[in-house]
């Protein structure tokens, strides 16, 4: 046996995932396809948000969804009713999508439609405020939802998720009159964690805020297509 050698490699632990995420992004770019990674805790309203969003969005832009779920295809089945291409990705015991899963989902999507014909790919991640934040999938933007029933303190308790997000949607704001909830405190906590994030208040019941959200997406797609 020889003397020990120390090899200083300074390599990201998640480099395998990051490498695949970079390959996914190159594919999205080659297809001229904007990809959004939609994340939140379970029950914050991701699937309902997509249902309402896609009713209008798919009239203006060719859209598709990769639907991450741990054990069922229930959410994918809801979105398939909108007559857009939907690929379910069942993660099993994994509590987040990773770049390899999204690569596999993209291959299945390619069998359903030529991605060159698409403008936007919405990836609904598994409901979880911890893991999805650390695993890149090749997205262009991260969108985090936070429902007001979760409490004002969540950006401080789960800072990585809200720090990484480009846009934070505060959902279920129609419930504000019925709850002892301080939305200004929530916004202050979001600003503390991520002062650069865009923030939109939204309700899937009254549809308030959907105009701003649709506008945000439209601008991102048009800017992406023009670059």
């Amino acid at each position: 046996m020889h003397l020990p050698i120390s090899d200083k490699i300074e390599l990201n632990i998640l480099h395998q995932n990051s490498h695949q995420a970079e390959k996914n992004k190159i594919k999205f770019n080659n297809y001229n396809l904007l990809c959004l990674n939609i994340m939140s805790s379970p029950g914050a309203g991701k699937t309902r948000l997509l249902e309402i969003t896609l009713e209008d969005l798919s009239k203006k832009f060719h859209s598709a969804v990769l639907e991450g779920d741990m054990t069922t295809n229930l959410d994918a089945a809801r979105l398939e009713k909108l007559n857009i291409p939907v690929v379910p990705i069942t993660t099993g015991r994994a509590c987040h999508l990773d770049a390899n899963m999204v690569s596999g989902g993209l291959k299945l999507l390619e069998k359903k439609i030529n991605p060159n014909l698409l403008d936007i790919l919405l990836v609904e991640n598994v409901g979880n405020l911890v893991c999805p934040a650390e695993f890149e999938i090749g997205e262009h933007f991260k969108v985090a939802l936070l429902s007001i029933t979760e409490g004002e303190d969540k950006p401080l308790k789960y800072p990585i998720m809200f720090r990484e997000a480009d846009l934070i949607l505060i959902t279920k704001v129609d419930l504000l009159p019925h709850l002892n909830f301080d939305i200004n405190e929530l916004k202050s906590n979001i600003a503390s964690t991520n002062p650069k994030a865009d923030v939109i208040e939204i309700s899937s019941i009254t549809k308030s805020g959907f105009d701003l959200w649709q506008d945000w997406i439209s601008k991102k797609i048009l800017k992406f297509k023009n670059n």
Binding site: S6, D7, I13, H15, Q16, F135, P159, S192, P195
Partner: protein, 118 residues
């Protein structure tokens, strides 16, 4: 739970590294990690998961060491460095400014690998 996936990524990175070194001719003694405080990783969970995952494999005798990298921010008003605290909303204690620039604490790195040639 994500420590399992982090461990998978770590082992894959180790496999990739070992292929370049001729895996059969080396014994890995230590894998030295740098983990930032502002990440989703719990060091003890990562160590336990790794130890369970490598049982009976070529990494069975290797040990994980973790250097914790402090979470440090920079006040965007006066440029002073500070350690952001959740209790203070991560704001700078000097000027009470929101956390804009993170200097350190997001590291998830294999810093170095200590090994012997057989």
């Amino acid at each position: 739970m994500h420590e399992v996936d982090m461990t998978k990524c770590l082992i894959l990175s180790m496999e990739e590294w070992a292929e370049k070194k001729n895996k059969k001719k080396i014994v890995v003694e230590k894998i030295n990690l740098k983990i930032g405080e502002f990440t989703c990783v719990e060091p003890i969970s990562l160590i336990n998961t790794f130890n369970a995952a490598v049982l009976g494999s070529w990494l069975d005798s290797s040990e994980i060491t973790i250097e914790t990298i402090p979470f440090e921010g920079k006040c965007s008003k006066c440029n002073r460095l500070y350690f952001p605290k959740k209790e203070n909303g991560y704001k700078s204690p000097c000027c009470n400014f929101n956390l804009e620039e993170i200097i350190s604490g997001r590291e998830l790195k294999i810093a170095s690998i200590d090994f012997k040639e057989k």
